[in-house]
Symmetry: C2
Subunit: 315 residues, 2 copies
């Protein structure tokens, strides 16, 4: 007899280590709603993202990578706000109840959840074409969130890691490749949670790089009503990108999505503190431009062929 | 040029009246996450449900009814906990960007959101087979939630409204019908929010009837470690059900899902208060059985042919 949706949820998720009692969980999975308790004086941060097979990841991606990715892209939004991850829900739509697939999916999801300290508190499992919606909840002291609208002329623009690596990895995967740093960057993006939390009080604005560095810098520019000018010569190119022709490498760096690095702005006087923070976290953080009066984001010294990834658009 | 996902979200949802500034919304749509502020001393209630076209509603259902339904089924979970609706997110997967469809969907969603006093604070629009995931957030004074695990032997079992009417409506719709109270019950279920909030302190346990009255009574029984014994002779049958053969009418009442009425338990001494409450709200609330030591839910005087609706099961 096929599994019922309740048995599915029970077996693979409610019993998972990531669904155990977490901080602030008054009542977890199993009632009409979860009951959660926030630390006094903290605000709640909420973000939701859907991944659709064949749209947000290639059909046939290993289930473990899908589980990791579904949570990672959402945790990245909390990182970009500087929030501490607390609780998440999982709405999973599956063509059939495939236990082996579910076990692998849950393993990928659960490993990242454990590392991030986030607890599964609710969900819904339905039949249909494969699609995963995760909603994450984080908290932080009231008034300290890193928003997109805080950049000012005179600030500097920074980025963590090596944007473009994941997009190169996706191309390598689609061409039949299976290993290397680029493929890993695509399959297992690591949300920059520790960096995000530590940037509270240092950064003036932040966003995670999901659409492409230049497009996401444009979101900060628009919300802050300023211009972000990136410099091609300052962009950090991963060794794997450095092997490509320069035009192509810069294209990946500026327009490749899926890295989930943080792009942020900060006053000039914060540069030393950001350098020390990056060293403590073992991350690369690179100054890539400056904030000026004006509008939009551009890259001086290079015009990328496209401005990020759009589901209903030009992709 | 096709609309980008950003333009879609902007046009139809961010600008919608239901996405305006709501109570406790520090920052709404437009950043990596929404920032929300809870009233001091209140807990957060979280619930998520996905509706898949062809699984949870018939393909071709009017977009306005889909928009209403997607929010209603989630608000019903807050009603069952006794929570006040505050904020929701919408993850919408669409086969194409159809403006007329979106406008109707947003109208159905928005009208119910306005009536329930809930604010849209985030979302994600993606391309794929039609599916809607809504997550709702409610609040209530800490420790006052109506849970499934509070029923005790000696309590009485109650239900609001006329369960089974929506299932009859679905059958009528599938047979080509388009009007009448049963079809309305299916197309526009009304979450029992005022009843749920007022039952805090009166009810000992509660659940919303989504899988079918007997199956949902079984969830209270399991979580409370008691038995719920319903009486066939006490079940409220809507006039439209009363026209059917008795066996069939009772089958709809006990096993029909989709009504989103509340099934709850309360101490015997609360009967007068519940009656007065129902009269004040203009709702029917009917005593349908009692809680005893034991386990499971059964209906004395009738054995329904099936025990509710299962996505991967016997439906």
């Amino acid at each position: 007899m096929p599994l019922s949706e309740f048995e599915l949820i029970d077996r693979f998720f409610a019993a998972s280590p990531c669904a155990g009692a977490g901080t602030g969980v008054v009542l977890g999975i199993g009632d009409d709603a979860a009951i959660l308790s926030l630390p006094p004086g903290e605000e709640l941060l909420v973000s939701v993202d859907t991944l659709v097979a064949g749209v947000h990841f290639p059909t046939g991606l290993p289930a473990r990578a899908i589980g990791h990715r579904a949570l990672a892209v959402n945790l990245s939004d909390l990182a970009a706000m500087g929030a501490r991850p607390r609780w998440f829900t999982l709405a999973l739509t599956l063509p059939q109840a495939d236990e082996a697939w579910l076990a692998e999916f849950a393993a990928g999801l659960g490993a990242l959840a454990a590392r991030a300290g986030i607890t599964l508190v609710g969900g819904d499992t339905t039949r249909g074409p494969l699609s995963i919606t995760v909603q994450v909840h984080g908290t932080l002291p009231a008034g300290t969130a890193l928003r997109r609208d805080g950049a000012s002329p005179g600030d500097e623009v920074w980025v963590s890691g090596y944007p473009g690596l994941a997009a190169l990895g996706l191309r390598q995967l689609q061409a039949g490749g299976s290993g290397g740093t680029a493929v890993t960057a695509f399959l297992a993006p690591e949300p920059r949670l520790a960096l995000g939390e530590a940037l509270r009080g240092l950064a003036s604005a932040a966003i995670d790089v999901s659409d492409g560095l230049l497009a996401d810098a444009g979101h900060i520019a628009r919300r802050s009503a300023v211009a972000l000018r990136l410099e091609a010569a300052a962009l950090p190119l991963a060794p794997a990108l450095g092997e490509l022709p320069r035009e192509e490498a810069l294209g990946f760096c500026l327009a490749g999505g899926d890295d989930y690095e943080l792009c942020f702005t900060a006053a000039t006087g914060q540069a030393a503190a950001i350098g020390a923070l990056a060293a403590r976290l073992g991350l690369t953080c690179t100054r890539i431009g400056r904030v000026e009066a004006g509008d939009g984001a551009e890259c001086i010294g290079f015009q990328p062929p496209r401005r990020g990834y759009r589901h209903f658009g030009d992709s």
